[in-house]
């Protein structure tokens, strides 16, 4: 068996000259220490993205991006296509899980200061990936064209529309018009299956390449005696695979017992359902906008909140350059506290959305 494999590898090696890659892979080492558990989350993001691409491609086989047929095609997939219920439920559930894991990955690298020199670009490409995947979530959510999708999109684009200066123009560009319509559905489909995948693939490529070139970051001031090194291939891969297997089991159980609902077809003339809100990963921003007073000093409350979010996002993206102490391999407790504050804010606002509905 291994002889056949060796012959195939030799065949490609002679023609593609990939031996240096194999040598690199054999030599690549991964540090193991008390915090190395968090290393797995990047790989899990990649694995879940792979699942999304695979299930997404399969859904495209039966989905129709037209307001007359979108909802019906989802209904069809859920009831008539063999295992359609599974493919679709996996896609919807994994989307949510993936975004959750992205947050875990982001916060774990933040607290471990993995963004510090020389890994600034890894952090920035990661930030872009966060934006891409939030966009994936937002655009994908409209595609089933059910009541929840329609109104969540309306609410979301209204918020985009309230941005100062560019708001109205931005909203029109996103919607493809003045309202959520066929143009919006076509546009979101285009984004979701063509533009975002290409962009995300390219940026993931850069991100992963950087991780390979620079190796895994170790926490600042870690006692080198407590660090062991294991080889990436095959030891770390096996450990990765164990995590991925566990996740697959989890996703399988969730999808069989809690298949994703089809919902009622979107009716633009219906009244907005009570308590409409966007998907959970946007709720911290949504709730902030709901509870902020209408005027803070002389600025409109909503506009202030949006500006603060944008400034916050910019800060978050540029943190590798702002955190001078970490860049000098010094412990940086101030930034840890900032991270805790941000994390707590997001968590509290999200929980508030669901526990206090009459905000």
């Amino acid at each position: 068996m291994t002889k056949i494999v060796r012959n195939i590898v030799a065949f490609f090696n002679e023609r593609l000259q990939v031996q240096p890659l194999f040598d690199f892979a054999k030599k690549k080492k991964v540090p193991e220490h008390s915090y190395s558990f968090w290393y797995y989350f990047g790989g899990i993001c990649l694995f879940l993205t792979g699942i999304q691409v695979a299930t997404g491609m399969m859904l495209m086989l039966y989905y129709t991006p037209s307001i007359d047929a979108a909802h019906e095609s989802i209904q069809f997939i859920m009831s008539h296509v063999k295992f359609g219920w599974l493919i679709r439920s996996v896609h919807s559930w994994t989307a949510n899980i993936l975004i959750g894991i992205i947050f875990v990955h982001m916060f774990s690298t933040y607290f471990l200061k993995a963004y510090r020199k020389p890994r600034e670009l890894t952090w920035i490409t990661g930030f872009f990936l966060l934006i891409f995947f939030l966009a994936f979530g937002f655009s994908g959510y409209l595609l089933p064209w059910n009541e929840l999708s329609y109104f969540a999109t309306r609410v979301g684009t209204d918020i985009a529309g309230s941005l100062p200066l560019i708001g109205k123009w931005l909203k029109t560009v996103i919607l493809g018009g003045s309202d959520v319509s066929q143009a919006t559905l076509s546009r979101f489909f285009w984004l979701h299956v063509a533009i975002l995948p290409i962009a995300a693939l390219a940026v993931i490529g850069i991100h992963v390449l950087l991780v390979q070139i620079l190796g895994m970051s170790k926490p600042i001031g870690l006692d080198e005696r407590k660090v062991k090194e294991i080889s990436f291939f095959p030891d770390f891969i096996y450990k990765d695979a164990l995590g991925w297997t566990l996740i697959l089991v989890l996703v399988g159980i969730i999808c069989v017992f809690l298949p994703w609902e089809v919902g009622t077809k979107a009716d633009p003339f219906a009244a907005t359902p009570l308590g409409i809100k966007p998907e959970w990963y946007f709720t911290f921003m949504f709730t902030t906008l709901k509870i902020i007073p209408s005027h803070v000093l002389f600025i409109e409350g909503e506009k202030l909140a949006i500006l603060v979010f944008m400034a916050g996002g910019l800060f978050w993206m540029l943190v590798p350059f702002i955190d001078r102490r970490a860049a000098r391999e010094k412990k940086s407790p101030l930034f840890s506290w900032i991270g805790i504050a941000v994390g707590l804010y997001i968590a509290v606002m999200t929980i508030l959305t669901y526990t206090v509905p009459k905000l």
């Binding site: 009831s79 219920w85 030891d235 450990k239 164990l242 697959l248 089991v249 399988g252 159980i253 017992f257």
Partner: protein
Amino acid sequence: MKTRMLGFAVAIGLVLVPPASFAQKNSCLECHKTLEGELKAPAESFAQDVHQQFGLSCRDCHGGNPAEDDADRSMGASFKGVPKRARIPEFCARCHADAAYMRTFNPSLRVDQLSQYGTSKHGRRLKAGDTKAAVCVDCHGAHGIQSAKFPKSPTFPWNIPQTCGRCHADPKLMKDYQIPTNQLEEYKGSVHAQALFEKKDLSAPACNDCHGNHGAVPPEVQSIASVCRQCHPSTGELFSKSPHKKAFDEIGRSECEACHGNHKIVRPTNDMLGTGEKSVCLQCHDAASPGYKVAAAMKDLTDGYEARYQKNLNLLAQAEKKGVEVSEPKYRLQEANTVLISARNLTHGLSLNDLKKTLGEGETTLTEVEKEGVAALDEAKFRRTGLIIATFFLALFGVALFLKIRSMRKPDA
């Protein structure tokens, strides 16, 4: 300087006088608003009154001079004061029965309320000298009168039962008339009340739809059937073609009311058929009569169909709970329910053959739905089995990985 300021003030004054004079003085409201209790209430509630919206005011009904502040002068010669109860219908009809006058405000409003009222029980009793009988203000209010199209109006469809019930459900008030006072209570338990109050279906009948508005009388035996036929014509047609029509005419019993009641008309069930204790057929048919056998047969048919329908309902609910998509068969099951409703309607025609035929069409739908329901449950089972198998393989793989990892950890020499 002073002359200039004076001139300025005069100019301002001249500009303000014309608008000020448009706001007509109404000393009635001004004065009554400062009073208490019963004298204050009309002034307060008049702001909401529909007459006020058409530019009418106190003077147009009560006379008097609203430009005068002095009480005696404002309530002078032309003042009509509070009309006596027995005179109220004529008081309102002074305008509301005048077609030419009403036309200037709302050409579509009827102007025959007074003449209708004269034929009503209320009107006749009032004429006979009974001032306890209902007059216009008892249902419409006196000063905050709103159109019957407004949900807060006491004459809006879903408020009417309460309005009539204010007197008709009061045993003390009704003591002298020897009529029951349980109609409101009975109505509230009816399917019509449920449609009106809970489903907000404004086409559902309230008191006035069967008894009339201004010409309210309890419908006579002959007219009950016509009254019900207003909304239930197909049932009425079936009944008229059935042997029951002649029989009921002969014994002089009201048609629909005999089996369905008049106020507490509840949603009919299969138990009204057949020979059980809730059966209405037994009112006339004894065990020996052919009608008895037909009754029993009809009940068996509808019972059997309903049981099958219920079984399918449960089947689909089960499948849905297990996560299988069953919205299509659920929709088709609704069609089977429509058949049941039309079958129950058909029983009024008393034809077993027609009933069988209609139910037969529904049976086909039920068979299809049952097949899909069973398939859905099978699918649920298939999914769980598949999950167990896949999880088992994954678990095996996980164990294999774990063993591999452990073997890797054993340090090389």
